[in-house]
């Protein structure tokens, strides 16, 4: 940090974005930032400690806005500086973010001990951008944001946490490894332009990777030949020529060409690496489908024994067997490679050479891992021999779940079960061992087995009744809407009231979402959040009442019909809050007694 301990740039200090600004020099060190206006008398001189700065925003290069940086202080105000150029902006931005990061570490260490507050999010630039964009595009969201975040009912982080789903984080998404395409893209087809005799093959990195994976000999040839012996272009030209040749199915031509050009022959010949691999794999194959062993035991079909030409066996031309690669073999090989899965990522725009090398590396790495799988398969054979329904299963087959981040998944699962169990019985054990979990599942299954599933859990008639009762309202409203849009209740209200009503509904929804999601209260932080939310919720009652009061009598009834569900939702929340509070106080009251 010492190297860049200080930055000085020319900038304009602005009170708001629209303010023309005061020109001057902005100087920053790791403690504070200072602004010295050119005109010493302007009074816009500024000294701010970085401790008081909470975050920073800046305009993006390429947008038609001037290069601005906005430093928000703890009191909700902000300092805006306009730079001469984006280069300056970037230097300052980097500096500010570094300093802020550093200054945050220290206070946070202290804060975490009390653990009342969530550590402030380290916002990436993209995320910040995304949020700003969302706010700009959605006026309702903006309104809510202003009301709750501005009104200190929710923190910035809480507000956005509920909208995690909205922002798609591209960096995380791409981490899931994409498998090979099911389609045989390595089976490249020539394109003709129709006028000349030229044929064109087009290769993409994706295709090249698949070719490498499916044809190890080509892969090896590439590593050997390129770039020492030939260029990449020449290499692929040759490859395509070989493909074209074998596509013509003229084996004599293939043999002749291969004899002339030894590099070309590499592509046309049988793949020796593959053959070796096959030999290795065949030893590990499940003995109950090993047809190779069968051939080894077959003394009837000695050469020239058995029935030779009865039409079931096709005589194939033995000549040029060496250069024969059939579509069927290609298909099998392709499916095997797809099944094996991809071992390296190709998203980076690497050169083909790097690609080839990465593949070679990952192959070497894999070789060791294969051996264990063998044991496992042999172990399975006797189980296959059993007939499933004559015997109750010894152990239920468990299919391992494919979860990318196992810890995250199970943590969230555990939290869910905890949530459920705490509501029903408070004294349930918090951590379930695997056996216990499995046992309980088994019990549940056997219970179902005993009781049978013959009776539907819910009587269908009752279910239908309830369902139609519940949806009646919706369908009728829809019906009315469809028939005559003016007839809806809302449209008969004055537009101001309507707006207000909708706005209330929205904000209640937002608050309730946060409210319910904070249960069960496990940390003091959540506790304080719930308190804040409850206060905000209870503030809405008078507002609703007030709105009702202000209306003429004929509309009041209709509005109160609309308001009632809102009030009910609020009631439910407040009720739950009170009940929870009582439970908590009772519990905390009991405990000391129990201990004494």
């Amino acid at each position: 940090m010492s190297g860049a301990a200080q930055v000085t740039k020319r900038a304009k200090y602005k009170i708001s974005v629209k303010d023309p600004g005061t020109p001057g020099a902005l100087r920053m060190n790791d403690q504070k930032l200072m602004f010295m206006p050119d005109n010493r008398n302007s009074g816009a001189k500024l000294v701010v400690e970085f401790k008081s700065i909470q975050g920073h925003k800046y305009t993006k290069e390429g947008s038609n806005k001037p290069p601005l940086i906005n430093l928000a202080n703890a009191q909700g105000g902000s300092y805006i500086f306009e730079f001469d150029s984006y280069a300056d902006l970037h230097v300052c931005r980097d500096f500010v973010s570094k300093v802020l990061e550093k200054s945050k570490e220290t206070p946070n260490a202290a804060l975490e001990k009390s653990a009342v507050k969530l550590p402030d999010e380290q916002l990436s630039e993209e995320e910040m951008q995304l949020r700003i964009k969302l706010l700009q595009e959605n006026s309702e969201l903006q309104k809510l944001h202003r009301q709750f975040v501005g009104g200190n009912i929710l923190t910035e982080a809480e507000f956005w946490a509920a909208r995690k789903l909205l922002d798609i984080d591209p960096s995380k998404k791409s981490k899931q490894r994409v498998g090979f395409k099911s389609a045989m893209i390595s089976d490249i087809r020539p394109a003709t332009d129709g006028r000349t005799n030229k044929v064109t093959f087009s290769l993409t990195p994706e295709i090249i990777l698949q070719i490498f994976a499916e044809k190890p000999a080509v892969h090896r040839a590439f590593l050997n030949f390129v770039p020492n012996k030939m260029t990449e272009m020449e290499f692929w030209t040759k490859y395509c020529r070989a493909e074209y040749l074998s596509r013509t199915k003229n084996y004599h031509a293939v043999v002749a060409e291969a004899a002339e050009d030894e590099e070309l022959a590499v592509f046309l010949k049988e793949d020796d690496i593959l053959a070796n691999e096959v030999r290795k794999k065949i030893r590990r194959v499940d003995p109950t489908l090993d047809m190779e062993a069968d051939e080894g035991d077959d003394y009837t079909h000695l050469p020239d024994h058995g029935i030779f030409r009865d039409g079931t066996k096709e005589s194939n031309e033995l000549q040029s067997e060496h250069y024969r690669r059939t579509l069927l073999q290609d298909l099998n090989r392709h499916a095997a490679v797809v099944l094996e899965g991809r071992t390296i990522d190709v998203e980076r725009e690497d050169s083909t050479r790097a690609l080839a090398e990465a593949l070679a590396r990952s192959k070497r790495g894999n070789e060791g891992a294969d051996n264990n799988a063998n044991e496992e398969r042999l172990d399975r054979t006797p189980r296959v021999a059993e007939i499933e329904d004559l015997q109750a299963p010894h152990c239920l087959p468990l299919a391992p779940l494919s979860i990318k981040d196992a810890r995250e998944y199970f943590d969230s699962q555990q939290a869910n079960t905890l949530k459920a169990s705490r509501d029903s019985q408070a004294s349930m054990k918090c951590s379930l061992s695997r056996q216990e979990a499995y046992g309980s599942v088994r019990d549940a299954i056997s219970e179902i087995k005993d009781m049978g599933l013959s009776d539907p859990i819910v009587n269908p008639e009752v279910a239908l009744k309830v369902y139609s009762g519940l949806t009646h309202n919706i369908s009728s409203i829809k019906y009315h809407l469809g028939k005559n849009p003016r007839e809806t209740v809302l449209d008969r209200l004055p537009s101001a009231t309507k707006e207000k009503l909708l706005y209330h509904w929205m904000s209640i929804q937002e608050l309730l979402k946060h409210f319910w999601s904070s249960y069960p209260i496990t940390t003091p932080y959540l506790y304080s959040k719930v308190n804040r939310l409850k206060d905000a919720l209870s503030n809405i009652y008078p507002q609703l009442e007030e709105m009702k009061e202000s209306l003429p009598a004929d509309l009041r009834h209709q509005v109160s019909l609309l308001v009632r569900p809102m009030q009910q939702a609020l009631d439910a929340a407040i009720q739950h809050y009170d009940a929870d509070l009582q439970k908590r106080s009772a519990k905390s009251g009991e405990k000391p007694n129990g201990y004494i």
């Binding site: 099911s182 389609a183 194959v285 489908l289 579509l327 073999q329 298909l331 499916a335 099944l339 499933e388």
Partner: protein, 757 residues
Amino acid sequence: MIFKLEDVTVYFPYDNIYPEQYSYMLELKRALDAKGHCLLEMPTGTGKTIALLSLITSYVLSKPENPVKLIYCTRTVHEMEKTLAELKLLHNYQTRHLGPAAKILAIGLSSRKNLCVNSRVLAAENRDSVDAACRKRTASWVRALAAENPNIETCEFFENYEKAASAAVLPPGVYTLQDLRAFGKQQGWCPYFLARHMVQFANVVVYSYQYLLDPKVAGIISKEMQKESVVVFDEAHNIDNVCIEALSVSVRRQTLEGATRNLSRINQEIERFKATDAGRLRAEYNRLVEGLALRGNLPNAWLSNPALPSDILKEAVPGNIRRAEHFLHVLRRLVQYLRGRLETENVEKEGPVSFVASITAHAGIDQKTLRFCYERLHSLMLTLEITDTDEFLHIQTICDFATLVGTYTRGFSIIIEPFDERMPHIPDPVLQLSCHDASLAVKPVFDRFQSVVITSGTLSPIDLYPRLLNFHPVVSRSFKMSLTRDCICPMVLTRGSDQLPVSTKFDMRSDPGVARNYGKLLVEMVSIVPDGIVCFFVSYSYMDEIIATWNDSGILKEIMQHKLVFIETQDVVETTLALDNYRKACDCGRGAVFFSVARGKVAEGIDFDRHYGRLVIMFGVPFQYTLSKILLARLEYLRDTFQIKEGDFLTFDALRQAAQCVGRVIRSKADYGMMIFADKRYSRHDKRSKLPGWILSHLRDAHLNLSTDMALHIAREFLRKMAQPYDKAGSIGRKTLLSQADLEKMTNDGSINEMLY
């Protein structure tokens, strides 16, 4: 469960039993009691193998005074492994309940290639070179030489096994090939020779058909089996073809060229021996004068041949071939004669009698001499201490041919074709000795053993098999399948989605519309059927062709969007790996399609049970290639001898193959699967009625004439129905799963008989 079946206490390793299994056991028991042969058809997926194994082992346990040995023949090695795995399960159960008294020895037997543990021998490429590599290290003369010269390589496993001598025994237990190899490795004994030695002591021997049926192998392996054995041919629907193949030989130009080379090599050897060790040839001569009856003294002998008439054992080798060089001359003349016969422009067909007469006239070799060629050659090769037997396959073929043609006077024909008529431009003359009568190869087995059980999922029509194999079963029954729910759904698809008929009939086969309709059917099915789908085509060439068409028209790409595609090829190694991958893809939920060929290796013995096969599509009717001269000759023979009409036999043969293909989807009553017969010809009654009863009984009239869209609808409904929970034991009136209590109750009140009949 343990229950009484008349006077036998049956130990059955499961808690429940299907009624079919119970009645199957009962019929089997009666056949054993009567010491006769039997023929039992029971649908696939009803646990035939385990019922059979547990009855026979329990039978032996209940009647210790009458120890029968079980010889269980499977079509393939992987079925052998499966059978042994089931037996292992049973054996564990029996020893758990009866203690050490129930201990048996059960082994699987296979070739050196599958049993050898010597890595240097195993490095050899194919079966024959493994055999030769083994002989090179274990032949008695090689070992004698090695005793003096330490540079000669022997096999340490074989040496250890020999050293252990009579101590080298397998402790009781069930040994799969894998277990045998592991045991051999651990003890340092050769598993192959150990297993072959233990065959005579084992209670259960599981091996492949040809160890009993093929005279070339049977003579070596099965000579010591006692009469009190029960021989089981499992999956025996193709047994007639196996028998026929075992006795058929074909001679091509390459064979004759190879044989000529072999003969000059043998000549060299003879000259060498004359110069160095003339005594040995003389000793052989003297031995042959004394006759084959004393052959037991031969070291490492290739021994008696059950398929040959017994009088050959009492006869001595004719004088004119006792001398090595005379025998060589005979063979030279024979090869010369055959070469002459191959130079023909037309297809020729002849019976063995006239063929032998012609050999006698032109080459001066009489029938008796021909008959002894096989024995004589092996004797000579032993005398000459030839270990690289794999180099001498061609001359062995010629001698096999000579012996067969000299032995049988009926049931065979010799067919000479100058070229394959599908490729008339490529001259490839072949002389085929083809057997038409399946009973010839299987006769010694019926004669020799007390009970022979022929069983399979498809033996319809069941009265045909005793005629084809010429035997008289004491029990012959076909069992129905009692299903808890309709878990199989056969359909006949006659039209594509464009309502045009689909068929692989000769005149429609190359119609692009048919290929497209077949493709569309599969595309639709892959999108709605979960996990595995298996498709069977009528031949490799048809499959090749149609896949190429699908590839060009993009149908294959559409299929690949839903499932991975694996294909059976003519290369078994590749096919095995493809199958393995197919299973992996089904296991991991990716789903896959397997393209296979009726009458191919996969159709013969691979199960596509449970999620490995929820749907089988049989594209076309798998008729044999009806223009084949051999087939025509066989049909003629069948008509003349058994009064079986050609058309009937062809349909029977095609339909049993089709039934076999589709029958692979069901493993138990809890399993489910659909079967689509995609050809308009299946809707005809004469074809369809040849399907086994258990498929026909589920083939509803409404499913007889479907188009693609209707089939799709039915498939959707079926899959939805199968996903519902159900009661495994079946409804009260019609139990499909019996517990021990049920069984006891039913035996007591006599309702068991009601259930059975």
